[in-house]
């Protein structure tokens, strides 16, 4: 049983965090930015994984959550002069609100209908960011640098342009949510979500109000995605409507599947691998999204449980 391996589980995840902590001293500056981006987007993927991998619900609308965090943070900094902490809180609140509302409406459906509805809401959100381009600057987007006040930690002042701050902010985000997901999956709630995924009706007849748990899962999932969006805005200093477009709903699906849906480390592996694949591919051709398409088909035909999923079922059964 997984319980017996608790120490190993915590150990593996802490080791990953420590590895990333140390990597910043060893890795060249270009790759440091890349790892920063990977860590933030992994958080997005982890949020998505909670809903897909653990609760069994496939959404094509998570870009809406990511972007609502990103836009709330960006707009509050740009127009209202919020400092980073306040903007982050604002982003979190916005994504919680967004996920709750979305959940209450969409969770009445499941399967293909859920997929389509989430996609539609997300498209509407994307269109809205374009429609209100007087504020959002639409596709072109807007930049935060220059408007973002430095972070004050004790007596030190760290500017958001500082790559060290960026990296470690992303790392803190990643670490907190990685450990949180490990804990959540191992908790009673985690078990219930897996029950919903495996056999929802059975779970209902074991005495659980599955709607409430699906809603909880969606709220946590959406909020995590939103926080990732907020941190992305602060770190990369750019907010644009491309992050609300459908490809940004497909990315977390791809990363999660590649790394292994229903595993805690899978999202990280998937995000990291695709980051490198896209990096290489965009050096070769402007149609690098072809790699995304090909990857998805290869995965679904031959590696449906992803990298970590495969490793888990063959060698390391206790991985959550």
């Amino acid at each position: 049983m997984r319980r017996d391996h608790r120490r190993s589980i915590v150990g593996v995840h802490l080791a990953l965090i420590l590895l990333l902590l140390g990597a910043q001293f060893v890795v060249p500056p270009f790759h440091r930015t890349m790892v920063t981006r990977i860590m933030i987007l992994t958080t997005y993927a982890m949020g998505y994984n909670l809903l897909l991998g653990y609760t069994g619900l496939m959404s094509l609308g998570h870009a809406m959550f990511f972007a609502s965090g990103m836009y709330t943070t960006g707009l509050t900094v740009f127009y209202l002069g919020f400092g980073a902490p306040a903007a982050l809180v604002a982003g979190l609140l916005a994504s919680v609100l967004m996920s709750t509302l979305t959940g209450l409406i969409t969770l009445r459906t499941t399967g293909a209908s859920f997929l389509v509805i989430t996609m539609m809401f997300s498209q509407a959100f994307h269109l809205a960011t374009l429609y209100f381009n007087k504020f959002t600057m639409g596709d072109q987007g807007f930049i935060l640098s220059g408007r973002l006040r430095p972070l004050r930690l004790g007596t030190a002042e760290l500017a958001f342009s500082d790559p060290v701050l960026k990296y470690n902010l992303a790392l803190v985000l990643f670490a907190i949510f990685l450990m949180m997901s490990v804990w959540l999956i191992g908790s009673p709630i985690g078990r219930i979500l897996v029950g919903v995924r495996e056999n929802e009706e059975r779970t209902r007849l074991l005495g659980y109000n599955t709607f409430n748990y699906k809603l909880l899962s969606l709220i946590i999932s959406g909020s995590l995605s939103g926080v990732a969006g907020s941190v992305y805005a602060l770190t990369f200093s750019y907010v644009g409507s491309s992050f609300a477009s459908i490809i940004y709903s497909i990315y977390p699906l791809l990363w999660t599947l590649l790394g292994g849906a229903g595993t805690t480390i899978g999202p990280f592996v998937g995000t990291a691998v695709m980051a490198f694949v896209v990096d290489i591919a965009s050096g070769l051709t402007s149609s690098y999204l072809f790699a995304v398409g090909a990857m998805l088909i290869i995965l679904i035909l031959w590696f449906p449980s992803g990298v970590i999923g495969g490793i888990r079922s063959r060698w390391v059964r206790w991985l959550p």
Binding site: R108, M119, M120, Q123, A124, L127, L130, V292, I297
Partner: protein, 288 residues
Amino acid sequence: MSFGGQLFLALLEGTVTGFVLALTALGLSLVFGVMRIVNVAHGEFFMLGAVIAWYFSAMFGGYFVALLAAPLVVGGIAYLADRLVLRRINYSPESTIVATIGLLYIIQQLVLTVYGPYARSVTTPFYFRVDFPWFGYSGYKLVVAGISAMLLLATWLVVTKTTAGLYMRATQQNQEMAQAFGVPVHRVYPLVFALGAGLTALAGALVVPVQQAHYLMGLDALLMSFIVVVLGGLGSLKGTMVAAFLVGISDGVVSVFFSPTLAKIIATVLVALVLSFRTGGLFGVEET
């Protein structure tokens, strides 16, 4: 133009849109109804139809040949996709979604590479103007609507009156039973998939003289098809038709009086709301 004139224009545009949308979405509805899968690459088949039509018109000067070639080529591609990928994953719903998303990007990016990122148009094969009291209207658009209507009718006849159609309906109702009765289910599937792709490719080919052919045009077609199919009720062809007209007309009206973007936003949100409260859409069966 007077309000009445504008309204009439809106309704006319809406009706034309409705017919074309019905034709575009019909394939998606058929595929879902018979095969129980969601084809996320559906919009790309539409786009392929448009691009192929452009190639035939611009390069070989034969627009009418394009109307034949587009559905055949795209149908062939769809057939291959079914044999090579969909059958291997056994048409499992979730896996098919992922696989067709992959197919979407493969098709889209291949077109980007070969056709390029620019939107290109084709001159209408014939031009005549229909004069209404308030405005002149493109006769070609009316012909397109007419052709779409005929194709819809033809499809309906095939589905309801022919043996092939019978096989499709039997498979839709109860796959196991159909198999037990000797329906070659595994041959029905690739043909239905190809038919669905061909119909939407034809729609794409028909609109090219009016819209331009662009490698990203599939996304809009996909979204509109989804809206129409799910609103009308997954699995109900009649529902898809009705929904196409509802959506077409409201889109036409809102677009004339407000911005098209706003129209899309409203349509999307409204449909999503309808769906959450009537999970089966207008004519479908309530999901448990």
